[in-house]
Every structure is written in C-alpha cells, then in structure tokens.
Amino acid sequence: MAEQYIYAVARVRSRELSLLSEAVIGQLCAASGEEDCLRILNEKGWGNPDLPSEEMFREEQKKTWGFIRELVPDRMEIFDVFRLSADYHNLKAAVKESCIDGIHPGIYLEDGTLDQAAVETALKESDYEALPKDMRQVAQEAKETLLQTRDGQLCDAIIDRAALEAIRKAGAASGEKLLKDYGELICATGDIKIAVRCARCGKDRSFLMKALAPCDSLDIELLADAATSGVDAICAYLDHTDYADAVDELKKSVAAFERWCDNRMIETIRPEIHNPFGIGPIAAYILARENEIRTVRIILAAKRNNLPEEMLRERVRVMYV
C-alpha cells in the first residue's frame, strides 16, 4: 500500500527544500518593514512584488493544492480532512448571509471541498438536500437558530462543533495515523479554545455542551464543568490530560495557546520528514505549507503595524524544516 506513494514522496522531498526554514523566518522577523519582507519572500519564489499580500497567500495555497493534485489525482479525498474547515467556514458565511440582506463579497474561502456558490444557493433557498448528508442537519439547525434567536454566537457554536466533529471523523476514517492524530488534535484544541472563550464570556453549561465536540483525549463533561468555573479551572483540568504542556501558554494569552497548538502540530508531523513511504509525508507537507503561510501572514501583519521584533518573535511558529 505504502509503496504506491514512493514517487509522490520523492517529489515532496524535493519540494521540502523550498520550504521556509527557521533561518528565513528569522530574516523576515529582522526585516526593516513589510516591503523588505516581500522582497525576501519574492527571492524565495513567493508571489511577485505587484501582488497584494493576501493575493500572494491565495496563490501559495493554490500552488500547494495544485502540486498535491498532480501527485495523487485519484486519492485527493483522503486530504479532505484539511479542507473541511473551509467548507464549514463557508457554511457559516452562507447561513449568516442568507439571514441578512445584501451581497457580501470576500466572505467565502476557495479551498474547500464544496462549491461555495452551491452552498450559498442552498442556504438562500433553504434547500438543505443540496448539501452533503453530514451538513444538512447542522445547516438547518444553525439557520433556524439564527432566525429565531438572532444569537450569532450560538449559530457559530453549532457550526464550529459540527466542523470539529467532521474533521475528527474524516481523520479517523482515513485509516492513516497522521491524519487521525491531526483530527484528534484539531478537535481537542478547538474544544479548549471554545471552553476558554465561554469561560471568559460567562456562558452556562448547556451552551458549552452544545459547543464542545466529543474527542478521545478530553472529557468534554469535565471540560464544560471546568469552563463554568473559569479559566483557572480549565487549566487545572488540562494539567491531568495530554495537553498539560499547554497550560502555561493558556495562562499567558489565547495567542500564545494558538502558537502552542501550531507548534504541537509540527511536532506531530515532524517524524514524517524521515519517512520515505506512505501518505504521511505528503500530508505533512500540506500542513507544513499551511504553517508557513500562517507564519508569514503573522509576520507581514506585524511589520505593517510596526510591532517590535521581540513581540513578533514570540508569535512566530516553529518551522517543519
């Protein structure tokens, strides 16, 4: 089975040479401004000086998925696990757009598995049958909740939970350890973020139970109980889980915790850098590229807003290579 990806993995090994290393990220952090960063990125093959940075990120994402499509044209569905978050983001956007007047350009993401226009139309016409089976009930529930209660947070919570469940399910169904670990990590860290946000907003237990997605590495009942008591109680609960390392970061800030989540993901995929067989190195390359784009986006935003270099260095992610 693993031997069918030998060619693809060898090509990924070649492409890994052009991933941004820690040294390049250091250069970007030390750059004098956004223009200097764009020049360095341009030298590394990113975009061109005439493109706005958001367009450059879109181009880079397209490049990644174009490359993966070329490598495994008949097994693309295995990587749906990485694209489901875009689908559920589009669902959220479509639900909200269908409940208010007007057209809102730029709210949809392009790299999902579903046609964004079809999702938009299905929600506008309340034609839930046009959506994939797993999405129908959540789309209906979210739209009805928004229409009846006008509670955008509850609508978001319903869709976010469904997204976490779908990612975890797709990871487990792939039969690949790396993708299963990815699904579990995304679901668990998503739950922690939701619990912290709810604790800060003083949400009650019933809201938490609607928002938290079940996963293997966390007991959502205990997490919901902790969240009703506050962030310190969440930290005390996490101390006894696989996410004990995250507690210090969580105490610092949500940004520090998100950085920990991204770094943990890189640590999870790092063994794939030495694996010459299987789908793992290809999946790891996709995640490494996403991490790279996210880090560059943080750096450019910081440069644009003249943030000090020390503050920026606290936010940049660990690189895959």
Partner: protein, 161 residues
C-alpha cells in the same frame, strides 16, 4: 529422464527466477523514487541512477548460480547425466536454496533502503557517498548467500564425480 536431473534443473531455474523477481521489484521501487527526485531536479539523474541500480545485482547473482548449476549438471555444454540419482539432484537443489531465498528478500530490502538514500541525496547532494553505504550494507547478505551456493554446488559436483 531421471527425477534427480529434474530437481537439479529446478534449483537452477528457481535461483534465476526468484532473484530476478526480487531485483525487478527492488529496482522498480527505487526507480519510482529516482523519477520523483529527478522531476524537480534533473541534475540528480546520475546519482540516483546508481542508487536505483544497486538492487539489480541480486538478479545477476541468481543468474550466475543458474549458469554454474547448469554447467555442473552438464545441461549447458551437453553431457548431462539422464540417470542422475534423486539424492544428487536434491543436493543441487539444496545448494541453490541460499540464493533462492536470500537474494529476493535482500533485493527488495535494498530497494527500500535505496529509496531512503535517494531521499537523503535529494535533500543534500553532498551526502551521495554516505548514502551509497546504506543500501550497500544489504548487499553483504546477498554475497554471503551467493558464496555458500557456489561452494555447495562445487561440493556436490565433486561428490557426484
């Protein structure tokens, strides 16, 4: 035609067949990795080609054993004994067993090691010398099996004479 000659010929044929199959698989998987590396960096062609060819030697060892065996039983130059005893024929077959078993296994494993070495060269071209050593280590056991089969075949033909 005696059953002894049949078993001796079976030994020679299996030595060539299993080693050839193993090498074909080993060279095949290494070739996929080599093609992947060369797609983005054609300059690597000469280096990865050598790594791809390493698992091909087991097929040659199998062929060599088949030649020696056929020659010793007289099927190459004529003069084969149609009344070869069953025990002599089985002894020839037994002499070929190290090559029949070890060569295909080592060829496939060498192919996999070559894939890993090709990844190493792709990342750092200057490691080519070192990367050759890893698949070459697998070759050791193919050579040991070859030596034992050669010694055993000559031993059997000495007994038969």
């Amino acid at each position: 035609m005696s059953l002894g000659l049949f078993f001796a010929l079976t030994g020679a044929a299996l030595a060539a067949a299993t080693s050839g199959l193993g090498s074909a698989r080993g060279v095949g998987i290494a070739g996929q990795a080599a093609a992947g590396s060369c797609t983005d960096n054609p300059d690597l062609f000469s280096k990865v080609l050598i790594l791809q060819l390493l698992p091909g030697t087991q097929g040659i060892y199998g062929l060599l054993i088949a030649f020696i065996c056929l020659s010793q039983i007289g099927l190459l130059g004529g003069g084969a004994d149609p009344n070869m005893s069953l025990s002599t024929g089985l002894l020839y077959l037994a002499a070929c067993v190290p090559v029949i078993i070890v060569e295909p296994i080592s060829a496939i494993n060498q192919g996999k090691t070559s894939v890993a070495s090709i990844a190493m060269v792709t990342k750092k071209q200057e490691t080519f010398g070192k990367s050759m050593i890893f698949p070459a280590m697998v070759e050791t056991y193919a050579i040991l099996a070859l030596l034992i089969s050669i010694l055993a075949i000559f031993g059997v033909s000495g007994m038969a004479a």
